[in-house]
Amino acid sequence: MSNHIMGVPGSYPILFVIWLVPLLGAVLCWAFGPQLKRFAGVLGSAAIGISFIAALVAWGIATQTSGAQTGAQQPLFTWLQGFDFGLLLDPLSLIWVFIITGVGFLIHLYSVGYMWNDNAVARFFAYLNFFVFAMLTLVLSDNFVGLLVGWGLVGLASYFLIGFWFFKPSAVAAARKAFVINVVGDVGIMFAIFIIVTKAGSIRFADVFANPHALDPWLFWTCVFLFIGAAAKSAQLPLHTWLPDAMEGPTPVSALIHAATMVTAGVYLVARCAPLWSASQDAQTLVGTVGALTALAGALLGLAQWDIKRILAYSTMSQIGYMIMGVGVGAFSAGVAHFFTHAFFKACLFLGSGIIIHELADEQDIRLMGGMRKRTPVAFWAMGAAVLAIIGFPGFAGYFSKDQVIFGALEHGYVWMWAVGLLTAGITAYYMLRLFFVTFLGSYRGEMNPADVGIQTQVAASAATIAHETHEPHAEDHAHAPAWIMAVPVAILGFFSFAAGYIMIGPGSPWAQFFDRSFPHETLPPATISEGVTTGLAVLMLVIGGAIAYQRYATRQALADAPARLKRESETLPAILVRLYYWDDLIELLVVRPSQRLGEFFGRWFDPHFVDGVVREVVLTNRFLGTLVRSFQTGLLRAYALIIVFGAACFAVYYALEGALR
């Protein structure tokens, strides 16, 4: 298990093309925004396209091997003495680069249409390109500090893009929340770096992974602190609450950052640090547990949402839970496989929902949709494929990867995670199909009174006013972009939602070969339950979940009385799910409020009255002494003279007496 992720050192100019062209795009969009106008979208997309082509060209060097080394390693510069930066492209980072630039390119293209009428389109593409650059920094870095730099910069890009409509208070608050929670994660990685530098004496992956036990007795804690970073970025429990709020950003942003790429950085981190996790059983258990719980918790929350983007956000959280569970328990290639397929179908779902949202002038509540099949057929077909993929319908991409993850948990001896994985698969089938049926089937409910479908009027009113007051960029909405700009990326992603899984069937698949040298090989005892049974059970869960959803939302009768049913359901949803397990309230109560109270106590009372009070006591003492001494200063010249004479007389008497007594 030595040096297996260290690339072959050398000079690889192509890496710079992959890495820096998006940055160039960002700078150009930013600098020449007013001149570029809508052309900024073309420029931004082209930058990502070039980067993607370069990544394809770099396939060869990423998979090359030399001795124990795989991939390409390009030294950059000495950041600080002892902190050498470099780029590393190996199969693992190549997969991420493909998704970042490939799916990223499609989303850029889509954004050209989506942001057609926004005044700040150049700023949007500058941020988006900057995000791609930051994400590439993250996955191409060959050391922990470089990774952390990318980690922070994607957080920044995410902050900018969530708060893209910065005149909207809810977007501003969501951006701040996302950033602060992500800083918790950054800080976790920072602490892990302290341990790594102290114990391993290097920040390069290759040196650290060569001997994971150099980190003993801190190995477990290194993993824990690294995972704090991963959990914050990947919206794992207990740091997940920022992700649903992040849906305040434009929909392409949700697709790119908060579904396909950035939120999977945690998966990348754990997969990248596979040698560390392989060396620490406790860390595996911990991360697997968090992943499994998040998968379940996210799916349950998905049951109680009506906002189309929020449902997708919770499903993202849940699916990333699967990935984290996979890479956590040691089924690294399975976790990465699920990342790969998820990127397609989740991006497809978001972009499809973006088409619907656009069509309905920023309406996001699925209770006010219905019958969208006729109005947005592209979205219907593509999202149909993606929904089948996410629920793991046999033959679709998610089926293959999710199976691997669930079975991987079993293989590594975590039976309860296996069970949770299966249960979650059933829940996923239910809520995703519910989303699909409610949105696309039946008749359009948008003209109905919101109260009739169970929307609390107060909330609806405020949501509507915000939508109308703040979406001024969309005001002159009816100069739409050519429809194909948005349709083509969605269709392509829909196709891959179906097809992406076929490269990963069986142990000798191209996928398995591709990662052959990337992850530690372990010999495992044969699982007690075979993979076939697992698959069968997963499909059974899917059928059960799907059948319930069908029965409740898609039968002819259900469609007929849909409004009444939706209204009834809205009123009877369990409060614990609607209030998101009270987790936000708990954080507010335990962290935010106490910090603010403490700040107020220190700032309003302790500092001015206690710390400064001591200072003022000193001042007052001096002032008191001053008033005592002042009484001698009468201002009368002759009084002073008399005092002088008296003093002189004292001296005279003293010396006279001294002389007399001697």
């Binding site: 510069f77 000495t78 950041w79 600080l80 003495q81 002892g82 500090v145 952390l148 730099v149 990318g150 980690w151 922070g152 910069l153 920044l156 708060g163 910065f166 005149f167 208070p169 501003v172 951006a175 701040r176 950033f179 602060v180 800083v183 918790v184 950054d186 800080v187 920072m190 602490f191 770096i193 302290f194 341990i195 530098v197 102290t198 004496g201 290097s202 703040t470 910090s595 603010q596 403490l598 700040g599 107020e600 220190f602 700032g603 309003r604 500092d607 710390v611 400064d612 001591v614 200072v615």
Partner: protein
């Protein structure tokens, strides 16, 4: 050569008073030119500018000795840069007077940072209080603040002078900065305590910080940008060039006191900054928090942490100067700096918002900007020397920093536009030019910090120890290097060993 850096700003500053009171252009051009010269001169002439003249021979030898070599080099450049930016940004009713005060401030601070003699250091330590004092008298909202600033810091200066005298008498000479001998013996901790209190007041460190928030919020922004960015570093610089080379043992004895105080400063400042509504006070309390980190680094006595301290000194100077200048622009336009009243500036002032954003991001330690480099290097060093809990606790303020800095940033530039705020014009090119160098330096230092770090390597390491307890005669170095604390080696090659 070194004398030029001190005298030129002082003479130019005095000469500006000959101009008419209402002058703007001539004084700003002169000020910029002087600052530019003081910036370029060391840069072009390289490391060796020195001036030395014998000052006292009894009771100890003291010299008027200044040099911009060694650790002072980067601070001198920083000071000249910050002064340049501040002068460029000065645009107020009494521009002439303010520029003159800024130049006087630069000259006197040059005298502090370039001093190679502790007595000269102490002399200019007090002189540099005068220009901000007059700025506070002339522009401050409360007259008390000026006196508070002066008396607080002057008390520190008095202790500094006492310690300097004790040092001179016991050691035989004060012309010592840049060399190093370990002072040991019963007096050493107390001499150091005198120095330390003076430095702590100046930095400032909890609990002697209460002059700072009032001073920072009352002083005109251009002046406070120099005071907070460079003047507050004088104390830290003193720890680095006087504390570490001569009092490593004494610092070891006071170590826990100062580590605890620095951690309190870190948390205390951050929590207070979370709830302030005065924008300048937020930055002031954030300074308390950030500078606590540097004190922590210095007292951990780890070579890596000390290098980090150097970077963070520069980084903090850059971003606090930029922040105060930007807040000054905002206050000048909107006539308020209350977060409650401000909002939505980003829409019509994109350049202002951009500059503000970069500065705030650097302050909250965004990777890729200078603040992050300092933080990670400092804490790596602190952790490496076995200070597990301090390193862990010091991470909390980083999270808090992101919360209060974003609050500051977003409450001012984001959100809906406020109708009650009258004038909104974007940065003029001169205003932009005044912050651009600071922001550029933040990016450069964040991406490639190696250059500045090499300056840290020149902080002298103790080469021997001198017994000062019971004798008034100067001793030569005795015995082997004192490395008991493991913090005495400051060579960069040792970073990761």
């Amino acid at each position: 050569m070194a004398l030029i850096l001190i005298l030129l700003p002082i003479v130019a500053g005095c000469a500006l008073f000959l101009l008419p009171r209402t002058d703007r252009t001539i004084s700003r051009v002169t000020g910029c030119a002087v600052a530019a010269i003081t910036f370029l001169l060391p840069l072009i002439a390289g490391g060796g500018g020195t001036f030395a003249a014998r000052w006292l021979s009894r009771p100890f030898t003291a010299s008027l000795h200044w040099s911009w070599g060694g650790p002072a080099f980067w601070i001198v450049l920083l000071l000249a840069l910050c002064t340049f930016c501040a002068v460029l940004a000065t645009n107020m009713a009494q521009t002439r007077t303010m520029v003159a005060l800024l130049l006087l401030l630069e000259g006197t601070m040059m005298g502090v940072f370039m001093a190679r003699d502790i007595l000269a250091f102490a002399l200019f330590w007090d002189l540099m209080l005068i220009p901000p004092f007059f700025a506070l008298v002339g522009w401050g909202e409360h007259r008390d603040t000026a006196w508070r600033y002066l008396i607080y810091n002057f008390s520190g200066g008095l202790l500094l002078l006492l310690s300097t005298a004790a040092f001179g008498v016991l050691y035989g000479s004060t012309d010592v900065i840049g060399t190093s001998h370990q002072l040991v013996g019963e007096w050493a901790p107390w001499i150091f305590a005198g120095f330390a209190v003076a430095f702590a007041v100046k930095t400032p460190l909890f609990p002697v910080h209460t002059w700072m928030p009032a001073t920072y919020s009352d002083t005109p922004p251009v002046m406070v940008s120099v005071v907070s960015s460079v003047q507050s570093k004088a104390g830290l610089f003193g720890f680095l060039v006087i504390g570490l080379p001569f009092f490593a043992n004494a610092m070891g004895e006071w170590k826990w006191l100062f580590i605890v105080l620095s951690l309190i400063s870190l948390l205390y400042g951050a929590f207070i900054a979370l709830m302030q509504t005065d924008a300048k006070r937020i930055v002031a309390y954030s300074s308390l928090s950030h500078l606590g980190l540097i004190v922590l680094a210095i007292f951990s006595q780890n070579p890596i942490a000390i290098q980090g301290a150097f970077i963070y000194i520069v980084a903090h100077a850059l971003f606090s100067a930029a922040l105060f200048l930007v807040l000054g622009y905002i206050e000048e336009r909107e006539d308020t700096r209350s977060l409650v009243r401000l909002g939505g500036l980003g829409k019509v002032n994109p350049k202002l918002a951009g500059a503000f954003t970069i500065a705030a991001l650097a302050a909250l330690g965004l990777p890729g900007l200078a603040g992050f480099v300092g933080e990670i290097v400092i804490l790596t060093g602190v952790f490496k020397n076995g200070f597990f809990w301090p390193a862990l606790i010091a991470l909390v303020p980083i999270v808090l920093a992101s919360a209060y800095m974003l609050r500051l940033l977003q409450d001012i530039i984001n959100g809906p536009e406020r109708a009650d705020i009258p004038e909104r014009r974007d940065l003029t090119w001169i205003e932009g030019l005044a912050v651009a160098p600071l922001l550029a330096a933040l990016v450069i230092l964040g991406v490639y910090p190696h250059a500045v770090l090499s300056a840290a390597a020149t902080v002298a390491a103790p080469t021997g120890s001198v017994q000062v307890s019971s004798t008034f005669r100067r001793h030569e170095a005795l015995g082997a290097p004192t490395l008991a604390l493991g913090g005495a080696e400051f060579r960069t090659e040792r970073l990761l060993k």
